[in-house]
């Protein structure tokens, strides 16, 4: 019973803070709500018995969000409180579109049959099993991801670096 209430709480926090990211006017508040949302998702991972993933999630997104926060401080003029907003018509259209998407997703979920999952290894989230899967079954994607990192590094340097004459 305890787990149910923890799930309700975490789900409420994550949905609420995600909504606040979208609607709050001050960009600094957006970043802070995003941090709250990511921590609640890490809580979900712990609940799902994926401890290593929870730790990695906190490590990675603490870094990534720190960088986003830096960009907010560096690029935005925080003196003017409100950013220029889209016209009401466009906002209305955005709300309708995403509402329809939600209806479609929930409808698909309702229409599908409840499947019976074969019960596998309950320790799937432990770091040892993850490593075994990653370095044996997913060898090629792992190596390809290093090339992705290389490309991203080159791209970021090419775009961001001013050439010194």
């Amino acid at each position: 019973m305890m787990i149910k209430y923890i799930f309700y709480f975490l789900a409420f926090v994550s949905v609420f803070s995600a909504l606040m990211v979208v609607v709050s006017k001050n960009p600094v508040h957006c970043v802070l709500y995003l941090i709250m949302c990511f921590f609640s998702i890490a809580g979900h991972y712990v609940l799902l018995n994926a401890q290593f993933l929870a730790a990695v999630h906190v490590i990675v997104y603490a870094g990534a969000i720190m960088v986003l926060f830096l960009f907010v401080i560096m690029l935005l003029n925080l003196n003017t409180q409100s950013e220029p907003h889209k016209s009401t018509w466009l906002k209305f259209a955005a709300a309708i579109t995403s509402g329809l998407l939600l209806v479609i997703l929930v409808g698909t979920l309702k229409g599908s049959e409840t499947m019976v999952m074969p019960v596998g290894n309950p320790n799937a989230g432990l770091i040892k099993n993850l490593g075994n899967t990653l370095f044996k079954d997913f060898l090629l994607p792992f190596e390809v991801s290093s090339i992705l990192f290389l490309v991203a590094m080159v791209g970021a340097v090419m775009l961001g670096k001013k050439e010194i004459k």
Binding site: A64, P122, I127, K128, L134, S146, L150, M153, A156, V157
Partner: protein
């Protein structure tokens, strides 16, 4: 061996102590210290000289490249934890796998150094 929710009690305790310390100190310092508010005391202080403007100006974006590259190297490290735990089991093959992975990243790192992206302009 499903891990029990009670196993997380020490972690929860740690969070409570950490949060409680922050909250407690803030509360206590506000209550204990003498509170004298005057216009001069609450004025912004800038090393003895008159303060100019306010603190919320957009500032230099010179080191954004360092920040961006930090994200990439940060994510790269997450692949190394599972490797380190399974190091003995994977043996030489796993070592070569990781060497290839790190080789590509090192290539990128040399590119960054050669381009002088980390230099202060």
């Amino acid at each position: 061996m499903q891990s029990n929710l009670y196993d997380y009690l020490p972690i929860l305790l740690m969070f409570i102590v950490a949060g409680g310390f922050v909250g407690g100190t803030m509360f206590v310092t506000h209550k204990l210290g003498p509170q004298i508010k005057s216009k001069i005391k609450l004025d912004t202080f800038e090393c003895g000289i008159e303060s100019q403007g306010n603190a919320r100006i957009p500032f230099s974006i010179k080191y954004f490249l360092v920040a961006i590259l930090f994200v990439l190297f940060d994510v790269e490290v997450i692949f190394m934890y599972p490797w380190a735990v399974n190091f003995k089991e994977l043996g030489l093959f796993g070592f070569i796998e990781m060497l290839t992975f790190m080789g590509f990243l090192l290539l990128g790192f040399f590119y960054i150094l050669k381009k002088g992206a980390l230099k202060w302009e």
